[in-house]
Every structure is written in C-alpha cells, then in structure tokens.
Amino acid sequence: MDYSNFLYMREELPLIAVMVILLLYDLFGSERSLRHFQLVACLLFGAHTVWCLFPHESCEAFGGMYVYRPMLTVIKSILNVGTLLVFMQAHTWLEGDRTRIRRGEFYFLTLSTLLGMYFMMSAGHFLLFFIGLETASIPMAALAAFDKYKRRSAEAGAKYILTAVFASALSLYGISMIYGTTGTLYFDDLAARIDGSPLQIMAFVFFVVGMAFKISLVPFHLWTADVYEGAPTSVTAYLSVISKGSAAFVLMTILLKVFPAIAVEWQWMLYALIVLSITVANLFAIRQKNLKRFLAFSSISQAGYLMLGVISADAQGMTALVYYVLVYMVSNLAAFGVISAVEQRTGKVMMEDYNGLYRTNPKLSVVMMLALFSLAGIPPFAGFFSKFFIFAAAAGQGYYGLVLIALLNTIISLYYYLLVVKAMFINSTDEPIAPFRSDNYTRISLMVCTAGIVLLGVLSVVYERISLFGFGM
C-alpha cells in the first residue's frame, strides 16, 4: 500500500491533528493551563479553518476510494466556519459547573462528526461513504445526550441513536442491493451500470429514505423536534446546520454522480418529498411555543427548500444549494446564538418569554429579527438571495408548479417567523427578560452571523465564486 496516498487528505489530516491535540491537552493539561482550553480549541480549529480555505487540484487516492474536487473545499469551509461559530456560542454552556469537566469530550465528539462528514463528502465509493455516515451519526447521539442529567437530553440521545441506526440500516440495505445488481460500489463505475431495473429502483428508494432521515425530510422527520428540543442548544444548532447541510450536499452529489440514469424517477420522488416537507413542517411550526421545537420545524421546511437545488440536477442547482447552505448556516446560527444566550442566562426558551425583549435587550432582538427575516427570505438580507437562486434553479428546469407551492409556503413560514418578531417588538409584558451582557465569544459569533446575513447576499462575489466551482463539477 502506498502510504503517500494519505497526503492527499489535505483537509482531513489537520482535523485529526486538532482532535488529537485537544484530546491530549484535555487529558494531560494542568489545572492552570486548562483555564484557556476554550481559547486554544477555538484558535486551533480556526487555524484549521483558514488552512482549508484554499482549494488545491482535483485528485483521487486509494484507487478512487477517496476523491477530492475543489467544490469540496467550498462546502468543507462552510461547515468549518459553522462549527467554529457553534464552538463560540457554546462557551457559556461549557463553562457551567456540570459541563466544565467534560468540555474536552464536547470538542472531540463534535470534531469526530465533522470528520465523518468530510469522509462522507469526499467518498468515491459507497464503503467510505458509509463509514463517514456512521462516524458522523454515532458521536452525534452522545452529543445530544451531553446534558445527561437532564431527562430530555438523555431522551434526545436515545431517540437520535435509534433513528440514526435505523436509517443507516435502511441505507446499507439499499447499498447492498445496488452491489448485488451491479457488482461494484465505486461511484464512477456505478453510473454506467445503473439501468433502472425494479430491484435497483427499490435499492435506490431504501438509500434515499436513509438519507432523508438524516436530512429530516417529511415523512421521515418525526425524531427531529424531540431531539432538537432535548439536546443542548449548541448541539441543536450544530445538528440543524452542519449535519443537515453536509447530508444534503452528499445526497446531491451521489444522485448526480451515481443515479443520472434514473433521474426521472428520483425527481418525482423528490418532488413529493419537497412538497410534503415544506408544507407539513410549516403547518406544524405554526403551533410551536418552544423556540427550539419551532426552529426544528423551520429547519425541516428549510431542508425542503434545499432539495429544490437537488431536484434541478444541474450546475446551477449545485451552486444554489451550496450558497443556500451557507446563508442558512449564518441565519440559523444567529437565531440559535440568541436562543442559547438567553437560555444560558435565564433558562427560558418559550416564545412568550421573549415578549418585550426589544425593550430590555435591543441588540439581541435585532439580531434575532434579522436572522428570522433572512430565514423567511426578506430582502435585502442574504436569505432572499439564496431563496431566489434556488427557486431560479428549479424554475430553470421547468418546475414552475413546485416553485409556486414552495413560494406559497414561504408565506406560511413568514407568518410564524413574524410571530417571534411580534413577541419581541410588539407584545409587552410585566416581567421581560432582564438586560444582560453575553460573553465575548457569543458576541463575536453573533457579529459574524449578522455580518453574514447583511453582506452575503448584497456582495454578489460570494455567489459568483461558488458558481465558479459549481460549474467545475
């Protein structure tokens, strides 16, 4: 075996190095030096993020098992930045009495899932893909149950592991049937051997159902709200953005690479999934009073919008999808950042607790409002542009009906996003949340998110850069 192949993994190796350093530091660091653990972790991971920003030439390693394309740098960088923001928002929570001693584990587990996603995205073979998928899922269950002394968190962990394993099993079953009918698991070879026989269609359905669990599309979304509600807020943020974004990207690449022969079939299947996800999730979101559950349903419908990029199945769709993930990430992390800051300070997560927040905490309210406007697709914020491009991608393939359904759903989503805005700005209450100052990590991360919400759309260069890579797919 040629060990120099490992050198092609220019993004995975530094990540492993960061993980190992943090693990050793946590184990052997003195009490005094551990006080700076948070800072060191953010700096190390920040350095890794910067390192990963620069794309290199396309290459393959291990006989096509591992594939690198410049587009992967873009999506990996997006995930890196998102993870970094989550780390910063987790600061106060990790400083808490019960989590303090376990914060090393938090970083190690989170970075393992990120590593799994890296492999999943770089896979050129179903085996590596599956290993990545599992590496990304199993530590996630541990993260969901991180506040194990809380009943809901433990329950979230259990629910997550059960559904994740079930979904993986379904995917694996599908993959095994694909292997049975074609005799190979290399993506490049598969494309030519998929001919649309009934067995392959069945295999494909199993595979997509497994992925749909990960992305939490309706009707495979039932775990989402409970897990999002129970898991610690930082973990929820990570789960809703990073995990979902990477899974959507992988689904799109695999559908384009491996299953172009049965495009007509999977486009109809996705059509149904999109309509269901967007509509059902929106209708459920209206009734939610807990903001974490609320954002869970909102994220299901956002996943439906993401799939609009997949269904268009061309370079424009790919660009729109990656851009959507980026914009969704900053918007959703801004919302979760505010929720997490308020929760750490007061323990409140219900919508009525936010009544009159603008009078006491104007800055947090404005950030939250911008985040919600961006999620709803209101210009001039980034969400408007990402929605426009993803709708344009779908309309370009003639899916006008689907775009219309999706757009009418944005009205429903605007309704429930405005409910939160209304609580903060219009409703008044006798006991609003007292004014407070969040820690500097949270403040910086919220500033970054706000800058992203305001600038990512108006500065067209971001979209254009991504599209350069998109057309190289």
Binding site: Q316, T319, F373, I378, P379, P380, F384, F388, F389, F391, A392, A395, G396, Y400, V403, L404, L407, L408, T410, I411, L414, Y415, L418, V421, K422, F425, I426, S460, Y463, E464, S467
Partner: protein
C-alpha cells in the same frame, strides 16, 4: 453610478444619520434635511428629464446606468427613468416629505419608527428607478416588510391583526409575482441566446404566447394585490385604518402605486399579447373594485375606513384604465395614480390630525369641526372636492382622461363597463359630501371639542404642500400629461406589434 442612485443612497444615509442621532431634535434634522433633498432631487430629475427630451433625446429610458451584479444569472443593477417614473418619483418624494411633518411628534421609539420609514422609502424609490426585474422585485419586497412593524408597533386599533393580514397578503402577491418573474426570465431570449432580466431587452425579444398565457395572470395578480385588485383588496381597509398617520399616507399614497406601476411596466409591457387576450377578465375584476369600493365607503363610519375603501375604488380605477390598453386611458391611469396618491395622503394626514385632537375617528361622534379648526376643515373640503373630481383639481383631469380613453373602445363590453365604472363618480360624491356635511358643518356633537386647537405649523406645512401639488396638477395638466403620454408610446407599440 449616476445621480438616480442617489434616490436609494439618500434614504440609506438618512438611516445612518438616524442611527447616530441621540434625541428628537437630531432625528427631526436628519429627516427634514433628507426628505427635502429627496424632493429637490426629484424635481431636479424632472428638470433634467424635460431638458433632455427638449434637446431631442428619444431613448425610451433616460439616465441609464448598468452594473453587472450576479454574473451567472445575468442580473444587473440597472436604473433608468421615463416620464412615468419621474412622475412617480416626484409623488413619492412629496409624500415622504409631508409624511415627516405629519409624524413630527412621533412617540414612542421615534428613532426606530423613522428607521423603518426610511427603509420603506428605499424600497419605493428603488422600485421606481429600476429597469431590471430582479432589482425591481427586490426593492418591491424591501418596501413591504417594514409595514409589519410600522403598523404592529405604532398603529392603533386592531393593529396586530391588520399588520399580519397586510403583510401576508402582500407577500402572497409577491410569491405569485416571483413565479411570474422567473417565468419571464426563462423565456426572455430565443433558444441559445443569453437570458436577461433587463425590461427593455426582454421587450425587444417577444415572449412566446404559451408562456405569456401562463405568466401574465401571475404577474398581473401579483402586482394587482398591492393595487387592491378585487378580491385581493381586503388587506387595504384594515391595514390603512390601523396604520399610524404617515404610514397610511405613504402606503396608500405611494405603495399602492407600486402595484399599478408594476402591472403597467412588467405585466403589460412585457406580455402584450396575453394582456389583450385576458384583459376582459381583469377588467371585470377591476370594475368590481371601483364600484364596490365606492359603495363600501358609503356605509362606513370610521374616517379611515371611508378613505381606505375610497382608495380601493380609486386604485381599482388605475388598473381599470391600464387594462383599457390605449394611450388616453393609460395616461389617465398614471394621472390618477398621481392624483390619488396626493389626495389620499392629504386625507390621511388630515384624519390623523383630527384624530390626534378628538381621539375618535367615528363620524357619529364628531360634528361642526369647521368652526373649531377652520384650517383642517378647509383642507378636508379641498381633499374631498379633489376626490369627487371637481375641475381645477387633480381628480378631474385624471378621471376625465380615464373615461374618455375607455370610451374609445367601440364594443358593447367596454362601453358597458365604462358606464358602470363611471357611476363611481356619483357614489364618490355621495360619501364625500356625507362626511363633509356631518363632520364639518353639522352641529357640534361633543362640547369638549370646542376647546380643541387648529393645526400647528408643522401640520400646516404638510397640508399646504399637498394642496399646492393637487391644485398644480389640476390647473396645469397639459405639460404633465404630455410627458406621461409620450412615455406610454413604447407600450402602445408593443401592443400593436
């Protein structure tokens, strides 16, 4: 960058100034100076436009500037104006200016109020200068969302309900509109040629008829919701009644014109064949708006509801005239937009001022106000006379052109509809005179009202500006209607192509 971009830049700078200001005095300085600059800029644009035309510039849009924005989709930031946009820019700037004075004593949270107010202006001005569909749509939506908070936070009555209803209905309209715009975009060029969002370029390559049939109704209804097209007008009475004074002024005066302008500039200009084919359907709907709005206004007792239903009727007339698809009627439509914008703003300003004193808007609880506040009373009478179309004021010029134009169609269908719509003039007279008689001249109903004061100086500025503008259009309509009529020509050429 050319000077048209200042229309967007000035409100943005005003927002910056507001953000930095510390007290009410500074806020007022920022708002007044900014709004005056906008008025000056609008009239400067008019002067530049007229002199360019006089010098023989026959381009469809003047002062064009084009900046590539999103290369992969060929989206540009493209601006340019013709006579209609210039007229709309003047209208908007006047209403922003008077709106500032009408909300002179804003309370609570004045800074936030004016921030949203300026964002609304950004959207309005940006919409009127854009000639790229994407930029146009973006500014359109920018103008919609501030309404939610402006009504929700600073409104009166059932403000939360009204704010939500208005926002969702208008956003629903813009959802239809977006599908329409995407449809236009993907059919904007023949097979193989690069697609474009530029309105002028799309007009040169005609869109296939099958696509027009699909996307014309979407686009027309999308804009029509904002123009209070029946049966999508129900947001308007609630929204206007709950909004604070200057927001009602801006919304009824300018924002509803976005709908008419968009129907004209996008739906009819780009899809003329479908417009001819489907105009009968929308003519019936707008005819209903005109008559139904007027009848509804007759039975209301809340001053704002009366004026809001009257707006439905008058804005319905704008769309009605546009759909007549001939030059006279369309000129009348634009004049009606101007005239209605000014007089409805005047109405809402006066209603706001009266309400601020009497704390009621119910006409049954007021009477004889003419003796108590003669200035406001006289203003109300003038607004009312303009609304019912007295010669010498703007309403007459507009309605005259509309009905002359629509009567030019010789067939029975158009003639009957014209007659039906023309009855609204009579009904308007009924509700206007009823209110004027009851509110201003009857016996004093509430003795406490005798202690009330007349308009303050800042209120007078607002009222006088609007009255002067209404009278100016009424007394000197020719130059204006020539400028508009000339800019209608490209659309007429599209229609006969």
């Amino acid at each position: 960058m050319n000077f048209l971009s200042l229309f967007v830049a000035i409100p943005l700078l005003m927002m910056l100034g507001l953000w930095l200001s510390r007290n009410m005095g500074q806020i007022r300085i920022v708002m007044v100076s900014g709004a005056s600059m906008l008025v000056a800029l609008a009239f400067g644009t008019l002067a530049a436009y007229l002199s360019a035309r006089a010098a023989g510039d026959t381009a469809e849009m003047l002062f064009r500037a084009d900046l590539l924005w999103f290369a992969p989709l060929n989206i540009h930031y493209a601006v340019g104006v013709d006579g209609i946009s210039v007229a709309m820019l003047i209208l908007s700037s006047l209403i922003v200016f008077t709106g500032v004075f009408a909300s002179w004593k804003m309370d609570p949270l004045p800074k936030e109020f004016f921030l949203w107010f300026c964002l609304l202006s950004v959207g309005v001005f940006g919409f009127f200068i854009s000639i790229d569909l994407f930029t146009m749509f973006m500014f359109y939506e920018i103008a919609l969302i501030p309404m939610y908070l402006l009504i929700g936070v600073w409104g009166t009555g059932r403000k939360e309900y009204s704010a939500m209803k208005l926002t969702l209905m208008l956003m629903g309209g813009s959802a239809l509109l977006l599908v329409g715009i995407l449809g236009i975009y993907f059919h904007s060029a023949p097979e193989g040629a690069p697609l474009t969002m530029n309105i002028l370029e799309i007009a040169e390559n005609s869109i296939p008829m099958s696509a027009q049939r699909l996307f014309f109704p979407l686009t027309f209804v999308g804009f029509g919701v904002l123009g209070a097209l029946f049966p999508f007008h129900t947001w308007s009475p609630d929204g206007h009644a709950s909004a604070p004074t200057s927001v009602s002024m801006l919304h009824a005066g300018v924002l509803m014109k976005l709908g008419g302008y968009g129907c004209f500039r996008v739906a009819i200009f780009l899809m003329p064949e479908a417009a001819q084919e489907l105009s009968w359907l929308f003519l019936i709907l707008t005819g209903i708006s005109v008559v139904y709005g007027a009848f509804s206004a007759c039975v209301q007792t809340d001053l704002k509801y009366i004026n809001a239903y009257s707006s439905v009727s008058h804005c319905g007339l704008v769309l009605f005239a546009i759909l007549m698809l001939n030059r006279t009627a369309m000129t009348g439509a634009v004049l009606q937009m101007l005239s209605h914008g000014l007089m409805t703003a005047l109405f809402f300003a006066l209603i706001g001022m009266i309400y601020g004193r009497t704390h009621t808007r119910d006409i049954r609880e007021m009477g004889g106000l003419m003796r108590i506040m003669p200035f406001l009373g006289a203003g109300y009478v003038i607004a009312g006379l303009a609304s019912l179309g007295l010669p010498g004021l703007s309403g007459f010029v507009a309605e005259m052109s509309v009905f002359v134009g629509s009567f030019q169609h010789a067939d029975l269908f158009h003639r009957v509809l014209t007659l039906v719509a023309a009855t609204s003039i009579v009904i308007t007279a009924v509700y206007i005179l009823r209110v004027v008689g009851k509110l201003l001249y009857g016996p004093v109903v509430n003795q406490n009202h005798l202690a009330l004061t007349d308009a303050a100086w800042f209120e007078r500025i607002s009222v006088v500006t609007l009255i002067v503008a209404i009278a100016a259009i009424g007394l000197f309509p020719l130059g204006l209607s020539d400028m508009i009529s000339e800019s209608i020509l490209p659309v007429i050429e599209q229609l006969v192509k």
